[in-house]
């Protein structure tokens, strides 16, 4: 009841403020940021009350207050709040890296790579095949020659195989799950996140060879990709070493320091043209493993600093979803989503047997691999950039698919953790 009162009050405040605003009023960016923190968190708690993950609630708040419904968060406001999303991604990557212990990598690394490989190959083939089979439903591919169908199908599949480190970290943080299923799922998601940069680059090069883009714009060069990944490891390592030194010798005001490090890492990655997620992932990993035992304290400080930013990040992700845009494409979206889920399940089963992991992991880890978010959005934008005309309709299809996976993924992940017994019922209502 209290949550509903808060939402009603927030709704009234926003109505009142917008009614009192003059024509010359500037952008309400700061106000919307504060509004989204409170509103999305309240909707998240309502969602938790009916057994759904909070991040589903945050995204629902984004949809409700976003441009496709009430419109408080307009499209220009979404653009203005982009730095918040970038900061959230940086925090997520750092936290993900900080979750990885060297000991754990030695113990589980091989199994994670095997599971990821099997899942990746099966998902890629299955999704590409499904799109090729359903090409008659998509005007873009209905009359296209075989080479073009193949090129766009593999491009689509290269984006569709991506997972969401953001959703995974957020849900693990919310549920405090730390068992084998949680650890293996996180491992697969993170390794896949690195692998997908390479895979997407290769697939894009193949697609460009098969279907040259008009004007030849966009695209990615191999040398740039090598630097993007290698440079990220170097920059991330240096950043992590600097954080470790700070933790050893100063170690004060960690919450503000954590925010500054995330901002600095994201900005350095942007300026130096290296992969942002990998940079911060490596920085987090180095901090955790070379921080002289203070890495965990820093991670907790960062989790605290990240809490309101995660809320806004997922709300903004929700605001970008246009439910009406999904409906016309449902004949393709639904089969693709189902096939992808089936392929993830099959891939983890095969990979799990190959790696000889516990059956509980094999049977439940796939639940956590359905989510998609930020990285997939970014890759879809690259496709639209390389193929400005045809890529746009492919992007619309990708966004619709991502929207469904984004909504469904956290619910399934929570279910998987519950089935594995890694969420204690009392912890259901914990704060993020």
């Amino acid at each position: 009841m209290r949550r509903l009162v808060i939402l009603l009050l927030l709704y009234a405040v926003m109505r009142g403020v917008f009614a009192l605003a003059s024509e010359s009023a500037g952008a309400p960016t700061l106000m919307l940021f504060g509004f989204l923190i409170l509103a999305a968190y309240s909707v998240g708690e309502l969602a938790a009350g009916i057994g759904l993950p909070k991040i589903v609630g945050y995204m629902a708040a984004g949809i409700i207050f976003g441009p496709s419904a009430l419109g408080y968060v307009s499209r220009p406001a979404l653009v203005e709040l982009t730095p918040v999303s970038n900061l959230a991604i940086a925090l997520i990557a750092f936290l993900a890296g900080a979750e990885l212990q060297w000991k754990e990598i030695r113990e589980r690394g091989s199994a994670i790579v095997k599971m990821m490989s099997a899942e990746l190959v099966l998902s890629f083939v299955a999704v590409a095949g499904t799109l090729a089979l359903l090409r008659g439903q998509l005007p873009l591919l209905a009359q296209a020659p075989a080479a073009e169908v193949f090129a766009f199908s593999i491009l689509f599949a290269a984006v569709a195989v991506v997972h969401s480190p953001a959703a995974t970290i957020a849900l693990l943080s919310e549920s405090k799950a730390n068992g084998p299923v949680a650890r293996y799922t996180l491992g697969v998601v993170l390794v896949m996140d690195v692998a997908v940069v390479l895979i997407f680059t290769g697939v894009l090069a193949a697609a460009r060879a098969l279907v040259p883009p008009s004007g030849g714009g966009g695209g990615v060069q191999v040398g740039a990709v090598v630097w993007e990944i290698g440079g990220a490891v170097l920059v991330g390592g240096a950043l992590g070493a600097a954080v470790s030194l700070y933790l050893r010798f100063i170690s004060r005001e960690l919450i503000i320091f954590a925010l500054l490090i995330a901002l600095l890492g994201a900005e350095l990655a942007r300026v130096l043209h290296v992969e942002t997620l990998l940079t911060l992932l490596v920085a987090g990993f180095v901090t955790e493993n070379a921080g002289g035992g203070r890495g965990e304290t820093f991670r907790h400080a960062m989790e605290r600093a990240a809490a309101p930013i995660f809320v806004v990040f997922f709300a903004l992700s929700g605001a970008r979803i246009d439910p009406l845009a999904v409906l016309p494409l449902w004949t393709i979206v639904v089969p693709v989503v189902l096939v992808r889920i089936l392929a993830i399940w099959g891939g983890i089963q095969i990979g799990g047997r190959w790696a000889k992991v516990d059956p509980a992991v094999r049977n439940n880890a796939w639940y956590g691999l359905v989510s998609q978010a930020g990285v997939a959005f970014g890759l879809a934008a690259v496709v639209a950039d390389v193929y400005p005309a045809r890529g746009e309709s492919l992007r619309a299809l990708l966004l619709a698919t991502i929207a469904v996976n984004q909504t469904l993924g956290p619910i399934l992940f929570r279910l998987g953790l519950q089935r594995a017994g890694e969420i204690v019922p009392e912890q259901r209502s914990d704060t993020t």
Binding site: R2, V5, I6, L9, L10, V13, V17, F18, A19, L20, A21, S22, E23, S24, A25, G26, P28, T29, L30, M31, L32, F33, G34, F35, I37, L38, Y41, S42, P83, I250, R252, E253, I255, I256, F257, L260, L263, L264, E267, L268, R270, V271, R304, A307, P308, V311, T431, T432
Partner: protein, 461 residues
């Protein structure tokens, strides 16, 4: 170098300085650090290196507004009624008159300075003059923190200075917020044009709603994560809404601060969260202020600025002296406690930056007055406080030392004579109530050797 990277590095420097330079300078040299960031901002801005362009500055407006709002709420938080009622009325009387004298004297002086210096009629000169009056009244509590920390709150002169800082903040924020509401001339899109009173009510309403939302949101749960989300969300929303409506973010969040201070059973954790953000945000505010500062070599400017500095100093020194003498309180607080109010700091910069960013008349002059005042006075704020208070504290310290020696001797004798005397005494003590608990905690903290100033809650002021 890109602007965001630059800002991050500046913030990082400011952040490191918070714990390195500030504490070192404060402990060893009794200097309040901070104003140097204003100089750093000038160096980074278009006036010198041009690393920060005016367009880049616009991109950071949300951060500036949040910082202004943050200064507003930290000014409101110490005003806790249950503690204020224990202070003698004369203390408030002195503080109120001192505030009013400062506003009136600086306001009247600035009106004539603007009118003669810039050839304006009195009405046109009134707006920047009132803004200067509101800015002039604000005084920084940082000097008191550095010089005496949270200790000796019961000593009348320190209590008087502390109350005067609070009153200065209240009057400055109220006068400035009222002025901004008066100047509000934009017509809302969906309702009729509002009067000044209505805009003031809207500003107060935003603060009240912010406080209400905080309470509703937090509920009975007091986990630190939830507290950060509730407080961060409410402060950002209130500051953002006030700025969006072209009202004063400082006044809206000040009201919110007063509401929180008086409605929370234990405001300590909230004050602690606010404190952790206060100094870094102040430094960022100073850098931004320096970047946006565009001083001119026009002699009239500098005459107005000199006029402001002299009038403000006179108002603080003589105003307090005269009002203390008229109230026959000189034995209690002395005639020189106004010295402790000369230092200006975070609230001054916040209000001045809020004025200048609105393109109001003579914004640059008003801002330069505030910036120069902060540059000249903040460094020595702690020394001003010490010079004002120490002469009155020596007899009290001697008396306290004698009393403690006598009490110690009696206790020792009694303990020898009646075993268990002290234990029984402790058992009989009642549990502290909610209001006493923080005070007792502070007293306990005061006994710790060399507690750094920044580790104290803002309530200590």
């Amino acid at each position: 170098m890109t602007t965001p990277l630059l800002l991050i590095l500046v913030a990082a420097m400011a952040f490191l300085a918070t714990h390195v330079a500030y504490e070192w300078l404060a402990k060893r040299l009794l200097i309040v650090s901070g104003a140097e960031y204003l100089v750093l901002g000038v160096l980074l801005g278009p006036q010198v290196t041009g690393l920060f362009s005016p367009a880049a500055l616009d991109a950071f407006q949300p951060l500036v507004i949040l910082s202004i709002g943050w200064m507003g709420i930290t000014t409101g938080m110490p005003l806790r009624l249950s503690q204020m009622v224990r202070i003698p009325a004369v203390t408030y009387r002195l503080a109120l008159v001192e505030s009013l004298v400062t506003i009136a004297l600086v306001g009247a002086g600035a009106t004539s300075a603007f009118a003669y210096g810039f050839q304006l009629d009195q009405a046109a000169a009134l707006v920047p003059a009132i803004a200067l009056g509101a800015i002039a009244v604000a005084s920084t509590p940082a000097g008191l923190d550095v010089a005496f920390g949270g200790r000796r709150r019961s000593i009348p002169v320190l209590q008087q200075i502390e109350v005067a800082h609070g009153m200065d903040g209240l009057m400055g924020v109220l006068a400035f917020g009222g002025l901004i509401a008066y100047l509000h001339d934009a017509t809302p899109l969906l309702v009729r044009a509002l009067t000044t009173t209505e805009w003031i009510v809207v500003t107060l309403g935003i603060g009240t709603l912010g406080g209400t939302l905080f309470h509703l949101f937090l509920g009975n749960e007091e986990s630190p994560d939830r507290l950060v989300i509730a407080l961060g969300g409410a402060v950002i929303l209130a500051s953002g809404a006030a700025a969006y409506l072209d009202l004063s973010p400082a006044l809206a969040t000040f009201v919110m601060g007063v509401i929180l201070a008086n409605s929370l059973r234990r405001p300590g954790p909230v004050a602690e969260v606010l404190r952790s953000g206060e100094r870094p945000l102040y430094y960022v505010l100073l850098v931004m202020a320096g970047v946006s500062w565009r001083p001119e070599s026009n002699i009239v400017w500098w005459l107005v600025i000199g006029h402001y500095l002299i009038l403000r100093t006179l108002a603080k020194l003589w105003g307090t002296g005269i009002v203390t003498w008229l109230n026959r309180a000189q034995e209690r607080v002395g005639l020189d406690w106004g010295r402790a109010l000369i230092g200006q700091g975070r609230l001054t910069i916040a209000l001045a930056l809020d004025y200048s960013r609105r393109d109001l008349p003579y914004g640059e002059v008003v801002f330069t007055c505030a910036a120069v005042s902060v540059l000249f006075t903040e460094f020595f704020a702690a020394r001003f406080v010490r010079s004002a208070a120490e002469p009155l504290m020596l007899p009290i310290e001697q008396l306290t030392a004698t009393t403690e020696a006598v009490a110690g001797s009696v206790t020792e004798t009694m303990t020898h004579a009646i075993p268990g005397f002290l234990r029984g005494d402790r058992d009989d003590r009642h549990a502290p109530d909610e209001d006493e608990a923080p005070v007792q905690a502070e007293r306990a903290a005061d006994e710790l050797p060399e507690a750094p100033p920044s580790t104290r809650s803002s309530e200590d002021r």
